[in-house]
């Protein structure tokens, strides 16, 4: 299985983790691995480079530096711009594509951790999925057999996403307890 949190979303994940309070870089890595890393932990270098980018963009600030060398001595805190960025990210549906669960999962967990309404997120995502599915369905209706087969493939994958979403929505209560507890 590919690393489940990639690219831009690592930054959002780390930002989200900071929402609950300032942390050291090392703490951040540990928290990330625990919640999202699963079988593939984050390299410390990834944390360092991501935090540098976030600092540069003004989404985080350095809250304090402890004695000693190295970047791991820095304590980071989220800025107001950072909080807005997380909110925007959570509210923006992901482009429907296969193996999206990782991102969606991250979003759901973060939403719950930060006390946001996860079912809104799911509904929004479903609407986005359905938008694409309508287009595919429409194409399928006009197209030939090959088009139909291709579209069906995509449709079934999208449906699987949505099913997972529905199931997650149904399990939100349990998840909330686990994530917050």
């Amino acid at each position: 299985m590919a690393c489940i949190v990639t690219g831009m979303s690592i930054g959002h994940a780390l930002l989200g983790l900071l929402e609950s309070g300032p942390r050291h870089g090392y703490d951040l890595k540990r928290a990330f691995d625990e919640k999202f890393g699963h079988d593939r932990p984050l390299h410390y270098g990834q944390v360092y480079s991501t935090m540098s980018r976030l600092l540069k963009n003004g989404l985080v600030e350095v809250d304090g530096v402890e004695a000693g060398d190295g970047p791991d001595r820095k304590r980071y805190a989220i800025t107001d711009a950072g909080i807005t960025d997380v909110a925007r990210w959570l509210a923006t549906p992901e482009k429907p594509e296969p193996y999206l669960q990782s991102t969606l999962y991250t979003k759901v967990v973060l939403a719950l951790m930060t006390g946001r309404d996860a079912s809104d997120l799911l509904d929004t995502q479903r609407a986005e999925h359905l938008r694409l599915m309508r287009i595919l369905t429409d194409r399928k209706r006009r197209g030939d057999l090959a088009d139909q087969l291709v579209c069906d493939h995509a449709l079934f994958h999208l449906e699987a996403d949505l099913r997972w979403l529905e199931l997650t929505a149904a399990r939100l209560d349990g998840l909330t307890k686990e994530v917050r507890g």
Binding site: D123, T124, R126, A127, L130, M133, R134, E166
Partner: protein, 228 residues
């Protein structure tokens, strides 16, 4: 595509069966010719919403307006008459009368509206042709496949040229291929007849045949078009 006002609209519907609320302030609207999917987990109240909209069940509170008429103010006889003349229905199963032949089943709504047997069955056969089941006319529902039976049911729901077609999990008992086929024929037929479709389903692939969807959760509805 959207005419001035909605054809059928509901405002803050409440309905409880015993102590458990099935609808808890649900809204809904649909325009003529529109296909709207009603989605949501089972037990969320989507079937109850459909029953209220169709005048089968009267809500405890809230208003339902159909073509400028207050549905909740009508008595049972008036609502029955409205269902016969303006609405069509497709359910998941158990809707075809097992003793009647397929063509008689399709003709049934026309006959209930007072049409003669011969005329009714001629019209019925035309609709069955459209849904590609005209060769089943003389068979009884027990002798045809699930997909065929459901297409017969769709033909029956459209035979009176309804303004609104209510479909409650119309493909729920069918496999993918038959489900797709039924949905395709249903939406094609409804669109060409100009009928609005209220489509209750929990399947995304089925909902993808709609123009937009409404999500019902814990008895409350959410119009996703306004959200996005």
């Amino acid at each position: 595509m959207m005419p001035a006002g909605p054809l059928l609209a509901a405002d803050s519907l409440h309905k409880a069966y015993g102590p458990t609320p099935a609808l808890d302030g649900a809204d809904f609207s649909i325009h003529g010719g529109e296909v709207v999917a009603v989605m949501g987990p089972s037990g969320s109240g989507k079937s109850t919403l459909l029953h209220c909209l169709a005048g089968i069940v009267t809500p405890d509170s809230g208003t339902i307006t159909y073509a400028g008429r207050e549905l909740s103010a009508m008595n049972d006889t008036e609502r029955s008459a409205l269902r016969r003349s303006d609405f069509g229905f497709v359910f998941q199963f158990g809707q075809l009368v097992p003793e009647l032949t397929c063509v008689e089943n399709v003709a049934l709504p026309l006959r209930l509206n007072g049409a003669g047997r011969r005329d009714a069955e001629r019209t019925a056969l035309a609709w069955m042709e459209r849904l590609e089941v005209d060769d089943l006319g003389g068979k009884r529902p027990g002798e045809v496949s699930g997909g065929q039976g459901q297409r017969v049911a769709v033909a029956r729901s459209l035979v009176t040229n309804p303004k609104v077609l209510f479909a409650d999990e119309p493909t729920g008992a069918l496999d993918s291929l038959n489900g797709e086929r039924v949905m395709q024929l249903l939406t094609d037929a409804a669109r060409s007849a100009g009928a609005a479709v209220v489509l209750v389903t929990h399947e995304a692939r089925v909902a993808a045949y709609s123009d937009r969807e409404i999500v019902v959760r814990d008895g409350r509805s959410r119009d996703m078009e306004r959200v996005v």
